[in-house]
Symmetry: C2
Subunit: 278 residues, 2 copies
Amino acid sequence: MLPESPPPVRPVFYVSDGTGITAATIGHSLLTQFSGFRFVTDRIPFVDTPEKARQAVAEIVRAGANCGRRPIVVNSCVDPELNRILSESGALMLDVFAPFIKPLERELDAPRQSRVGQAHGMVDFDTYHRRINAMNYALTHDDGMALDYGDADLILVAVSRAGKTPTCVYLALHYGIRAANYPLTEEDLESDRLPPRLRAHRDKLFGLTIDPLRLHQIRQERRPNSRYAEMETCRREVAAAETLLRMERIPTLSTTHTSIEEIASRILEDLGINREMF
Amino acid sequence: MLPESPPPVRPVFYVSDGTGITAATIGHSLLTQFSGFRFVTDRIPFVDTPEKARQAVAEIVRAGANCGRRPIVVNSCVDPELNRILSESGALMLDVFAPFIKPLERELDAPRQSRVGQAHGMVDFDTYHRRINAMNYALTHDDGMALDYGDADLILVAVSRAGKTPTCVYLALHYGIRAANYPLTEEDLESDRLPPRLRAHRDKLFGLTIDPLRLHQIRQERRPNSRYAEMETCRREVAAAETLLRMERIPTLSTTHTSIEEIASRILEDLGINREMF
């Protein structure tokens, strides 16, 4: 029997007068609902003049001709003139704002203001500052480096390489949250109790755990063939950490099959922290 | 004359069967197009059972009653039954996927698959790994700590506190890009030339600059009343760095009024790097 040929490739463009993040986010969410297709995606950001719109059209048309398939354009440009030019590409146009503007105008009894590229563009100093300070906090309170947790919004607790650092940095960048993290040491794990400096901040604690095999793979990359990376070490540490977290009633999540976005979202939900996302 | 009373508050909910990131992203973009209103936003993620949908409805109804205003729900739940329950809240329902599914089904000649919470949910090991490795790279190559740039996808060059670190971390987390950064030292600035170790990677270099007054404010917070933070120091360093970057023809962007998202997006565009966003 012949092997099945792979599905043909379909070009997808995220076109925007700003960064293209909104278009890419919704576009990606839409494409995940059509599995079995192969999409080749490309971003065309900062399309804010007719000239740039025409360049975008040329790129879209070229991609369609190369693939022999009609491209899909997920578009977040606000200016009607730019949208008219873009539609000349002959691509399937999905305008991410259009369906929602009329209902919102009716509801709010006010017209939309069509300034371009607002969502991820200019920022006020306070917002920028809050993100940057949160990130500095995450980096200086990473891996138990600084242990003054008075200013922390939350403290992640886990064995080494279970996913604490990326989660803390993500929480800082996207929610302006001061997230510290504490690596459970062999000593902590043997004593079967939380270290006293963590006990003082019990309501800020959140545990992460991980499949021991996955942990072994990650540690192997970092320190190949070390005792630290041994399967047996990983199994023992994870088991002890899970016991400790359960006994101390710390809410805990496994990072094994969970994206950083989902980990962050679940932690905020669990700890009842409501912050607007940047 | 009496001062104008502030506009009444309107509750907005981002409801999702997953993290709610897609709903929050498009919702935020929509709200920025209606300035002059005060929105109070809240995320209700992981609404994946009728029971949770009913809890969400209760929360939405309560918020509407408290404000005396009809809430707005930006909703990315896929299951029709959950959407039916949510619509009982009486809120203005904006379904972020609905308008695009039919056109996509027609174009691809295939029905959508309605698994919940796919966009930012489960992840394969490779993707996770690439993000984490990129982030470790950014953290170990931050602020000139490690100077082996062979593996770098790009290298940010700027004076201290101009925004290099958050940009590198953002590029790593969202694009899996290995971004190093190099702080221009007084010595570099005096010699008016790029340090030799950077010259070898000329095509990976990108400069950041910043308004001297803003830099002064940021440095003041970090080391109050130091020579490092003095207005005069900031002015001199920024002028020298801008001259150096211009003479060496390094593409350069000011971070003063630019969000981290936009900085990242412009750098990728300028260096011609195309990566799918996570």
